[in-house]
């Protein structure tokens, strides 16, 4: 009998087996990756914070701590460093209160559509400054506290959010979005918590603008 169809490339079973292998492998891999991601992005607990366990996303009670942003030589970018306790709006927030405040802030950020102009964790626009690490911006310290006449960073931020039209901080000024005092508190908590999230150094070059600011330049970019 003559030898016919000796090429593997025209053999149906070869393609069938290859396709089954690639599809099967990819399916299992995607399921595995999904669960791996869940572990990476799940929020830590208040107990983790007290024990000093580093989580990519810390518990809402992180608003009770001082948050620093330091260059890590090992990782090649800045990482949030959770420091000592500090009062937030003059008090320490319980896990329940902190979660409720953060939730209010998150809803507020959605209701006021912050992402229409700003970027939060990589989502949004670049018409206005990136808010991912906004809490760590030194501008909220001396400059904004001076402008608003408030004694703390969080109060200065809340005041700015309620009356942005009064404080020219950026080339494109933020409109007054009629944010209430309670919402402003929530938004500041939301921003403080966001700045404590380990984003693998995103947004890149944050320290560069901080240095520029300290040298007398502007953080508006």
């Amino acid at each position: 009998m003559a030898k016919e169809n000796l090429s593997v490339w025209t053999s149906i079973s070869f393609w069938r087996r290859s396709a089954a292998w690639v599809t099967g492998f990819a399916t299992i891999l995607l399921i595995w990756l999904t669960f791996d991601t869940m572990g990476q992005i799940s929020m830590g607990t208040d107990a983790d914070l007290q024990k000093g366990i580093t989580k990519r996303v810390p518990a809402p009670t992180v608003i009770n701590y001082h948050i620093d942003y330091k260059m890590s030589e090992k990782r090649g970018h800045e990482v949030p460093v959770i420091g000592k306790k500090e009062p937030f709006f003059g008090k320490e927030w319980s896990p329940k209160e902190a979660a409720a405040l953060l939730h209010l802030g998150k809803l507020g950020s959605q209701a006021k559509n912050c992402m229409n102009c700003h970027t939060l964790l990589g989502n949004g626009a670049y018409y206005a400054p990136d808010l991912t690490k906004a809490w760590l911006d030194p501008m909220w310290g001396a400059t904004m506290q001076g402008m608003t006449g408030k004694s703390t960073k969080e109060e200065a931020m809340a005041e700015f959010l309620m009356h942005p039209e009064k404080y020219p901080t950026h080339a494109r000024m933020m409109p007054n979005l009629k944010i209430t005092a309670e919402e402003a508190k929530g938004l500041v908590a939301f921003l403080k918590h966001m700045s404590s999230i380990d984003t693998n150094g995103f947004p890149r070059g944050f320290s560069k603008t901080v240095d520029q600011f300290k040298a007398g330049g502007t953080n508006a970019h």
Binding site: N5, L6, S7, V8, S11, S13, F14, R17, S18, W21, V22, F25, L29, L33, D36, G39, Q40, T54, K55, R56, K74, R75, V79, D198
Partner: protein
């Protein structure tokens, strides 16, 4: 340096694969393509019979 220290915050299997010059893409292509050589040769053997 060929092998860097593991630096991820949350250790994971996929994080380990991403250290140094080894990327997830290179790793996955390797593990997907290698068995396909075996599939190819086993099919060739079957056809020759």
């Amino acid at each position: 340096m060929l092998f860097d220290k593991f630096t991820d915050v949350v250790p994971s299997f996929f994080g380990m694969l991403n250290q140094g010059p080894l990327t997830l893409t290179i790793f996955l292509h390797t593990v997907i393509v290698l068995p396909m050589f075996w599939i190819y040769f086993s099919e060739k053997k079957k056809l020759g019979k």
